[in-house]
């Protein structure tokens, strides 16, 4: 009797679990993330197409992360210096943004919607809460596009800019992401 009950609850758990995710969760591992550094003497961008993201409209939660080693600025040596001296990717390989979408999202065919997300942005081992405005766009029944732009200050994350390159690296970095997320039908977690 007890055994049956356990088995029953176990399956009930599995069923409810996969059911609630089904159709509500979108993910990607090929989103684009970009940063723009606009200093007095030098302006450059770094790009990665390895943004991983998960949007869960059931729980209104999201989780994004990127392996910072995949950021490329177009100059190999600058990338290496960025990884070793500024982002310290060996210790802190990821930038992460995790949190909740502030409003209930219902997306109709062909529509775009603006929304706000509140979450924790984490890079270089430091965290900060922020609200980020974003836009989601219907692409197909199984695909949505997410775009968002926000600014961070390097000093908030303990990333020091030495005075000798003050004119080349901006304290304020503009981060934009653009990702096409596909509906996830199989629950992997």
């Amino acid at each position: 009797m007890m055994k049956n009950l356990i088995v029953f609850f176990f399956f009930a758990f599995l069923v409810t679990f996969s059911f609630e995710m089904k159709g509500q969760t979108y993910n990607t591992d090929k989103g684009r993330a970009e940063f723009l550094s606009k200093a007095a003497l030098n302006e450059f961008t770094g790009v990665s197409d390895d943004l991983n993201g998960l949007l869960d409209f059931e729980k209104n939660s999201f989780d994004f992360f990127i392996d910072l080693n995949t950021l490329k600025t177009g100059i190999g040596l600058r990338d290496r210096h960025m990884r070793e001296n500024y982002l310290e990717t060996k210790k802190y390989p990821f930038a992460e943004f995790t949190g909740k979408i502030n409003e209930q999202v219902k997306l109709e065919k062909g529509q775009s919607k603006l929304l706000n997300a509140t979450g924790t942005f984490k890079i270089h081992g430091k965290e900060k809460n922020m609200v980020v405005p974003g836009k989601i766009t219907w692409i197909s029944d199984s695909e949505i596009q997410l775009e968002a732009t926000f600014k961070i200050l390097l000093s908030d994350y303990n990333i020091a800019i030495p005075s000798v390159i003050f004119y080349e690296l901006s304290e304020e970095q503009t981060i934009s992401i653009k990702a096409n997320l596909k509906k996830k039908t199989v629950n992997t977690k």
Binding site: T45, L54, K90
Partner: protein, 289 residues
């Protein structure tokens, strides 16, 4: 009771917020910046160039410092200057051309990187090699028919580079080296009189801060009685440049003359040296979209 606990446990294990597993895009990443630049004091390193990157180095050594302030610690005397340009044809292969003022030597060299140390230690060290040929273009016409011809003026160098970043702070490179002079005349600004010179170079880096390191170079000779080369210095990264300042026992700036050129006694016969390294990305990709 038991069941209740079990049910509770099941609900608790229900994740309240979906999270992705944090995974590196590349599980076996290369160890980077084993040294600050493709040059380290006077020796080439395993530090590769990107494809289409151009490395420009201007290197100087001056007179011996024992003249003191009167000679501004050697800066007044006989500077040797070498310019070098090295271009990356691929991530693994680069070709360089250099010109040193000592004996007006033009040097052509190539570097090839066999493999690189990885962060997961599956490849524990980096291995590269260098090969070069140089021509002494000094004017020896006063010697009339005894003047050296092109072959007599030619010398060669080869070097293997084995390097490992032992920690965030310490990197070491071991460089078995050889130099060969077709005709090692006393006329040339070298101390050796044999054709072949063998040596073992040690290059060390001790990182002090993110952008500066103490540097060491020691090149014991293996088949002759010439003094060994010793250099100590500091590397500074600043906005795309790597500045290298050092004290060294030899005025030579290319491999052939480093091995055959002779060295002063470390200490009072040290010379000041100064390199500026800059890497230009000539093939900077236009961004898609």
């Amino acid at each position: 009771m038991k069941i209740k606990i079990l049910i509770l446990a099941l609900f608790l294990s229900h994740p309240s917020m979906a999270q992705l597993e944090r995974k590196l895009a590349d599980g076996s990443q290369k160890e980077e910046l084993i040294f600050h630049a493709p040059r380290h004091i006077n020796l080439l390193t395993v530090e590769p160039l990107d494809k289409k990157a151009l490395h420009f180095a201007i290197m100087h050594t001056f007179g011996t410092i024992d003249g003191g302030l009167q000679d501004l610690y050697g800066l007044d005397n006989g500077a040797n200057i070498q310019f070098s340009f090295e271009y990356g044809f691929s991530e693994k292969f680069s070709l360089g051309a250099a010109r040193a003022s000592t004996d007006k030597v033009y040097n052509l060299y190539g570097r090839y990187h066999f493999f690189s140390q990885t962060q997961d230690n599956k490849t524990p060290f980096s291995l590269s090699m260098m090969g070069g040929a140089a021509v002494n273009t000094s004017n020896y016409s006063f010697l009339n028919e005894d003047a050296p011809d092109l072959m007599d003026r030619t010398s060669y160098a080869a070097q293997l580079m084995l390097a490992r970043k032992f920690s965030e702070k310490i990197s070491v490179q071991l460089s078995p080296m050889m130099a060969y002079f077709n005709d090692p005349r006393a006329l040339y600004q070298i101390e050796g009189d044999q054709n072949l010179y063998l040596a073992l170079g040690f290059s060390g880096k001790y990182k002090m801060t993110g952008k500066s390191s103490l540097t060491l170079q020691w090149i014991p000779n293996l088949n002759n009685d010439l003094r060994n080369n010793l250099g100590v210095g500091i590397d500074l990264e600043a906005g795309g440049h790597v500045f290298q300042m050092y004290f060294v026992t030899s005025q030579a700036l290319n491999e052939q003359y480093l091995l055959a050129g002779g060295n002063g006694v470390a200490g009072e016969k040290f010379r000041l040296g100064f390199n500026v390294n800059r890497i230009f990305a000539t093939g900077k990709k236009k961004r898609a979209d």
